[in-house]
């Protein structure tokens, strides 16, 4: 079988519009990491189980390893790099720092994006709601409790400072 030519896609990544030609089979994870060079989105399992690759696609939590780059054509991608910078961390990022919500950091971008969606939908989730949503993603280091505590802390910070970006 011969492959067709690459397909041109237009995507908005963290607010910047990007045009690229990609193979149909290129995974969104590889597009983000290697085509665009944003290596914050990580790959854990490549079959949709662990959620380390979670990004927001048109605001929806999405497993980038289960998505083809061509499916993102015309859509808006947000990755962990959109949340904050070293001298300007978002309340969610600061909360994870304060509450020891990470150890090796590999699952962290996926967790942050998953929780960004939750907090936009519901700025004051209770602990059970946080845990129910957190069930989507796997962490091998923390045992989860400090991640739940981090999201609760983020809720407090956002109440004081304003909604998550």
């Amino acid at each position: 079988m011969t492959a067709m030519d690459d397909i041109e896609i237009n995507v908005t990544v963290n607010g910047r519009t990007i045009k690229r030609r990609v193979e149909p089979r290129l995974l969104l994870t590889d597009f983000i990491r290697h085509e665009i060079g944003l290596t914050g989105t990580h790959v854990g399992c490549e079959n949709g189980v662990c959620g380390a690759c979670t990004v927001l696609l048109d605001g929806l939590a999405t497993r980038a390893c289960c998505t083809l780059a061509v499916q993102a054509d015309g859509r808006r991608i947000e990755t962990v790099e959109s949340l904050g910078r070293l001298n300007n961390l978002s309340p969610l990022q600061r909360a994870f720092w304060e509450m020891h919500g990470l150890q090796c950091g590999y699952c962290t971008p996926g967790m942050l994006m998953l929780m960004t969606e939750l907090l936009r939908e519901n700025p004051t989730p209770d602990r059970d709601t946080i845990r129910a949503r957190l069930n989507d993603n796997i962490c091998r280091c923390t045992g989860y409790e400090d991640i739940v505590n981090s999201v609760e802390r983020a809720v407090e910070l956002m109440r004081a400072e304003g909604p998550v970006r």
Partner: protein, 823 residues
């Protein structure tokens, strides 16, 4: 022969920093220095590395568990556009030697299977291409002609298997990698004199660390110098990195190994020889830098780091007063296809083989067998978590059979707080501890009696609620003797297991600490900065941490075996002492004061009792760097402000001959876990109603990060107890090769809260009295959880002797118990 009991003349030790001093930074919940980069997605993980003209590699994996390789036709693969080269096992064997192996006699393992494949997933060829996509396309085009051989998958069958089922015929006529007998203390006499003997057969199934990030390497080869640069997310490069060079058949100074952040390890990234050699081989052959990252299937099938896979027949001897006197076991351990660490995981267990108890004698018969599975490596606990399971299960068995109280029985058998340092029958030493205190604390925190009352009430409603108890040891700081002391003849009998720190203070007073081992998520930067900040009264914000490659590295054994915090504390303290001495000398000149009259206070060095007479460390550093001629002439005072320090094991001795391994793992932490579970007897599902975890890891540098390890380790232990198992069928086919079927715990699988208690018995031997904390949770949670389930199902008489115990297995046990009852 080592006599068990309190050591009357304890070794002196080299502790400089006493635990009972007033501390400003150590002991605080300082926020981590590692976090900012990870929070913004700027970690330095292995797959983040992009080198110019870099190619990607994939491995062709064997579909057979055991087969001869008759031929490999890679022509179609090589012809595929975008493929740079394909390397077969035969070709690799011309360019590389065997991979490193600690067993003696060694067991030969190659980076690519040579002549035959010994497990499903073993790499058979390496494909280097413009992308991983193309490399995988090419892998599908490679034609391998295999001659299948009979596979052995059952460990008991492996003991008796012969002929074509033998994996390593050059080693002998069978699949027995080792068969050893050990006697520590008067085992036979104690069993002969015993008032009671309790027996169990126990099964600990094969699971693995399975961090979220797989193993990988990015290598380049400089044709101009003949030197390799290998980026890898493994450890031990500044310890035994030279063996990678040996495998690549180049002198060791022609290989520079560069660390990356590791996305978790749990032991599995202890020494990544295979991926390092494969990437380097690919680079040299192809002429381009090569990235080889395991995908999840590569990692599950061929990580070289599956955990222990054991069947125990264990007996416990008790006297008429219900004191445990001796322990005797026969264990068969399925090592899979290779034997890289020899019997290390059993030696590890010998460090704490009596648990926290005053057992006087231990007898062990160990079978290590080869089967057609991925080999064992390191998995959080390194075999001692299984020893803990064995001990606590037989303790629970004794409690049940003799109708005793589980708390009182443990309490009466504990080594008491006034018996330390304590020597156990294998010769190892326990440095300090308070086991009754931990048990008491756990009971208090749990509200033990309240839960017993609730359990009673639940039983009347037909609900199955159980309280588990496990009191276990967490060894810390291994000695290198562990790697070879169980070998028939030692082989390379190394005895150093050091850790180094390199510290420089720049002219403006900012510090850079270079570590010589990687970050696994275990907070090394935070620990190092906190210790240095404490030592020099620096602001931790003025300290940054880097990681040395092998070109610039000093000896560093790295994280593992719950050693790293202890060793970093020692190395940083040692280096800081040198810098402190220089700072006070120069400050003395600047202040015209005797260095002995000076103290460190809040980033300054000043005269004791004279608040105005002080200079800042920044000012001293400026002097030290640039103003040599302004200071008195003194050949011992050189410009600059830096120190390297290599900290050796704080307390280790050589093995003393048969039956006495010397002191090889003495920094002994302790845990007591009490889970409360409810079992749905109809479905076999287990849910957590409460969970208390008391940990003694001596002085805590940072209680926040200790708590993180406790919860993470406990979660992993729950996975081991309820979810995780590599399932091989009778033909050696691995049935669960992805995360869909190898089940890691999710938040719904762990207790909503693990309530943590800290008991502190500082070590007399380490700086500040720190002990290890990294492995503890996983080392105690499995027996604790199983104990709780058994307690819940006590009305039905269910015994649990196997982990994991997923719902289907638990329900089967319940069904059988109910059938027994109704007969």
């Amino acid at each position: 022969m080592a006599e068990a009991g309190k050591i009357l003349s304890p070794p002196a030790g080299r502790q400089r920093e006493r635990p009972d001093q007033r501390l400003n930074v150590i002991g605080t919940r300082m926020l981590r220095k590692e976090d900012p980069r990870f929070l913004i997605g700027r970690g330095h993980f292995i797959d983040d590395i992009e080198l110019p003209n870099m190619a990607d590699a994939a491995a062709l994996r064997s579909p057979h568990a055991h087969a001869r390789i008759k031929s490999i036709d890679a022509n179609a693969a090589r012809a595929l556009p975008g493929v740079v080269c394909v390397i077969t096992g035969e070709e690799a064997a011309q360019e590389t030697g065997p991979l490193p192996c600690f067993a003696n006699p060694t067991v030969e393992q190659r980076c690519l299977a040579l002549g035959k494949v010994r497990h499903v997933g073993e790499p058979v060829a390496l494909i280097v291409a413009d992308s991983r996509y193309i490399a995988e396309d090419a892998a599908a085009l490679i034609r391998v002609e295999y001659q299948p051989l009979p596979a052995v998958s059952d460990m008991m069958e492996a003991i008796n298997s012969r002929g074509d089922t033998v994996l390593h015929p050059e080693r002998g006529p069978d699949n027995i990698a080792e068969h050893r007998n050990y006697t520590f203390g008067p085992v036979e006499q104690e069993f002969a004199a015993a008032a009671h003997v309790v027996k169990r057969r126990l099964r600990w199934s094969r699971s693995g660390g399975q961090p979220l990030e797989t193993a990988g390497a990015v290598a380049s080869y400089d044709e101009g110098s003949g030197k390799f640069t290998i980026h890898v997310n493994g450890s031990m490069y500044n310890y035994i990195g030279f063996t990678i060079a040996a495998a690549l058949k180049v002198p060791s100074h022609q290989v520079n190994i560069v660390p990356a952040d590791a996305g978790g390890s749990f032991g599995s990234k202890l020494f990544l020889h295979k991926v390092s050699v494969l990437a380097a081989l690919g680079a040299r052959t192809s002429g381009r830098p090569v990235k080889y990252i395991e995908d999840r299937i590569d990692n599950i099938t061929a990580s070289d780091n599956h955990g222990s896979d054991r069947t125990y027949d264990v007996e416990l001897a008790l006297d008429a007063s219900h004191r445990m006197t001796a322990l005797r076991y026969r264990v068969v351990d399925d090592y899979g296809a290779y034997f890289q660490y020899g019997l290390g995981t059993h030696g590890n267990g010998f460090s704490q083989t009596v648990g926290p108890y005053r057992i006087r004698a231990v007898g062990a018969e160990i079978y290590a067998v080869f089967t057609n599975k991925c080999q064992q490596g390191a998995c959080r606990g390194f075999g001692s978590e299984v020893t803990n399971f064995m001990i606590e299960r037989i303790v629970d068995a004794a409690v049940e059979e003799l109708n005793l109280d589980p708390i009182a029985f443990r309490h009466d058998n504990f080594i008491q707080p006034d018996e330390f340092p304590y020597q156990i029958p294998t010769g190892n030493l326990y440095d300090s501890g308070n086991y009754p205190g931990a048990l008491e604390m756990a009971q208090q925190m749990l509200g033990y009696q309240d839960w017993r009352d609730k359990q009673q009430a639940a039983r009347t409603q037909g609900r199955y609620v159980g309280i588990g108890i496990a009191s276990c040891q967490e060894k810390g700081v291994f000695s290198a003797t562990e790697f070879w002391m169980l070998n028939r003849s030692p082989g390379f009998a190394l005895t150093s297991s050091p850790e180094s720190a390199s510290i420089k203070i720049d002219p403006t007073g900012k510090a850079v600490i270079s570590l010589h081992a990687p970050c696994w998520g275990n907070s090394p930067e935070t620990v190092a900065a906190m210790v240095l900040a404490e030592q020099l009264t620096l602001d931790p914000a003025d300290i940054s941490i880097t990681y040395s490659d092998t070109d610039h590295g000093l000896p560093g054994t790295g994280p593992g075996g719950s050693r790293y915090t202890v060793m970093i504390a020692g190395a940083v303290t040692g280096a800081a002492a040198i810098i402190k001495e220089k700072l006070t000398r120069v400050a003395g000149h600047m202040l015209e004061a005797d260095p002995r009259d000076l103290e460190f206070r809040q980033g300054k060095v000043g005269v004791k009792g004279a608040p105005g007479l002080e200079v800042s460390i920044a000012e001293i550093a400026m002097q030290a760097h640039f103003f040599r001629l302004s200071l008195p002439d003194d050949p011992t005072l050189t410009s600059g402000l830096d120190a390297n320090y290599t900290y050796d094991h704080p307390l280790a001795t050589l093995p003393k001959g048969e039956g006495d391994f010397g002191i090889f793992y003495p920094i002994m932490g302790h845990m007591c876990h009490m889970p409360v579970v409810e079992v749905d007897a109809e479905t076999g599902e287990v849910s957590f109603l409460d969970y208390v975890a008391v940990h003694d890891c001596g002085t805590m540098i940072n209680p926040m990060t200790v708590d993180g390890h406790v919860r993470g380790g406990t979660a992993q232990g729950i996975g081991t107890a309820l979810l995780e198992e590599f399932r091989y069928d009778n033909n050696g086919q691995l049935l669960n090769t992805s995360f869909t079927d190898y089940l890691l715990p999710r938040v719904g699988n762990v207790p909503p809260q693990v309530r943590i208690g800290h008991l502190v018995t500082p070590s007399p031997y380490t700086e500040y009295g720190v002990k290890g904390a990294g492995e503890g949770g996983r080392m105690v949670a499995p027996p604790a959880v199983v104990s709780a389930i058994e307690d819940a199902l006590r009305p039905l008489g269910v015994r649990i002797d196997t982990v994991p115990v997923p719902p289907s297995r638990l329900r089967a046990l319940i069904r059988e118990a109910q059938a027994r009852r109704s007969r």
